[in-house]
Symmetry: C2
Subunit: 320 residues, 2 copies
């Protein structure tokens, strides 16, 4: 079994600490992984967590053998001095190894976009950078998962006002199509069932509380159905996430970021995993940020990174 | 102990059925209540539920004695033939009895606004009608409650686009002030703690994802704090509702209808209760609609109405 490549993330955030703790939790059970990073920040994080020192490896194929005894670290070539360069090199190395087939997939630690922008990074975020590195023309789709619930926000990092403006019928159809295809390919679901949430309260109440359901979301549902997708909606978003409703679909598409994130984080705050759909490689990440405020204190929880590593291994098996 | 007045709601909806079933569930334990309605629809609902016939009463004070043996029904004066008139008379009678002190509070069954509009009803909904009947000048505030969570939507029955336009600093401050005052008066909380949710993803991410947090919500939080309210925010709305976060406040104010309803219905779909704050009488209602699609089939769940009756009794004791 090929190992997963875990990136460094921002070295001033909790990435190194949770990578160290995740290794501590998974060293005897797997999944196997290695970190693409210079040795120093990982060695420091392991030491702070009271764990043994890392093992420098030169190729992904060396990871499995040393994993039970030491966290394998594969340093990108070159010796970047700047933190931003280190962050970007870590991602590039992990992606290259996954594309070459040496790594089963990529699990990314959180980055801090402002720091990267200052250093010349030109992408809105991780996901777009990965789309660029892997030569994708269509924008990738973000899926978030906990045990028993998968959600896909159709609009992501926009204000509510801008998101309402950015929504289009095509965008909903494209997102639904990618989601259905990837639920089959990555999650092994033969005939995925999609729920499409409404934008407005009471699903617009027949036009009285907004027209997007009639002009945009309803027609998008019809188009997806005509393409053979098993889909229902637009459903009032507040009715989609209780325990009985969750049994009725494999993923729920939500029009706004918080319509998707709210039920996910309400039900399981610590173990959300972000999965990128529409890439030629498997990629997951924890659904939290760099958490600068608690970095270095030894109190960061590795739960989400562990879940991201476990899900990446599962998706890599299904996609193989 | 004074009984509660329960309204008929739309007679073609599930109101009569759930009132009958709620009586069946509460007849030996209380809280005592009576229905303000003509006898016929209630008699029919009891019969369909396999329960004994109702008892016609002429005054609220007769309810307690017959409650263990028969559901007390107090018919409004006059004999309306039209359904819409029956619905409105039921509400007026219940409110009058609560204002006179004969009833401890009002629990309203769901109405169908379109039917009432056709019959000349001129209010956006129940809540505004109750504000009018009780002579309130300020618009009442809607609070929704389940065990362990209270939420207050600052905007209610508007499209998302219209809600974003309708939000103002004053509206947030007014809603927060009413909520804090009523949490003390009705819920007996000496020093209520309010969470104020952000509108935009990541609470606007320092202005990158929307400005309302800086221009409107943040200043509203400061004003409430200056008035002595124990308040925090604007907090990213997706982080406010997991089990640890819920322990940190007595009510969460949310900018959009579904930001408030989504966590509530996700956590407990069947037992949400709507409480009207800012009225001179106690008023609760189930948080579902008329459910015409399942009316008359005997399958409607009375859970939310039962919770509304129980909460109304509790609020009436605190407010007494």
């Amino acid at each position: 079994v090929r190992p997963l490549a875990v990136t460094l993330g921002d070295p001033a955030g909790i990435g190194p600490e949770i990578a160290a703790k995740a290794w501590g939790a998974l060293r005897t059970t797997g999944p196997h992984f290695f970190v693409t990073a210079p040795l120093a920040p990982i060695a420091q994080a392991l030491s702070l967590a009271g764990l043994p020192p890392p093992a420098a490896i030169a190729a992904a194929s060396e990871a499995a053998q040393c994993f039970p005894n030491a966290l394998p670290v594969l340093a990108p070539s070159g010796a970047p001095q700047e933190s931003a360069e280190m962050v970007v090199d870590s991602i590039k190395t992990a992606v290259r190894l996954a594309q070459e087939g040496a790594a089963a997939g990529v699990v990314t630690n959180p980055i801090h976009k402002k720091s990267l922008y200052d250093a010349g990074f030109e992408f809105p975020g991780h996901t777009e950078f990965l789309g660029h590195l892997t030569g994708m023309r269509r924008p990738p789709v973000m899926l978030l998962a906990i045990e028993g619930l998968r959600v896909v926000p159709v609009t992501v990092h926009l204000s509510v006002a801008a998101a309402v403006q950015a929504l289009t019928q095509d965008k909903i159809v494209d997102t639904g199509r990618t989601t259905a295809r990837e639920l089959s390919r990555l999650f092994g679901i033969a005939r995925p069932r999609l729920a499409i949430a409404a934008l407005n309260p009471h699903a617009g109440e027949d036009g009285a509380l907004g027209t997007e359901e009639k002009t945009m979301i309803g027609p998008a549902v019809e188009r997806l159905r005509a393409e053979g997708v098993d889909v229902f909606g637009p459903a009032p978003v507040d009715t989609l996430f209780h325990v009985r409703a969750r049994a009725g679909y494999d993923a729920a598409l939500c029009m706004l970021h918080d319509h998707a994130l709210l039920p996910l984080k309400t039900l399981d705050f610590d173990r959300g995993v972000n999965v990128t759909l529409g890439l030629p490689i498997v990629r997951t990440s924890p659904d939290h940020g760099t958490a600068f405020d608690i970095a270095g204190k030894g109190i960061a929880r590795p739960d989400s990174l562990i879940a991201a590593i476990q899900l990446a291994a599962q998706l890599a098996r299904a996609a193989a």
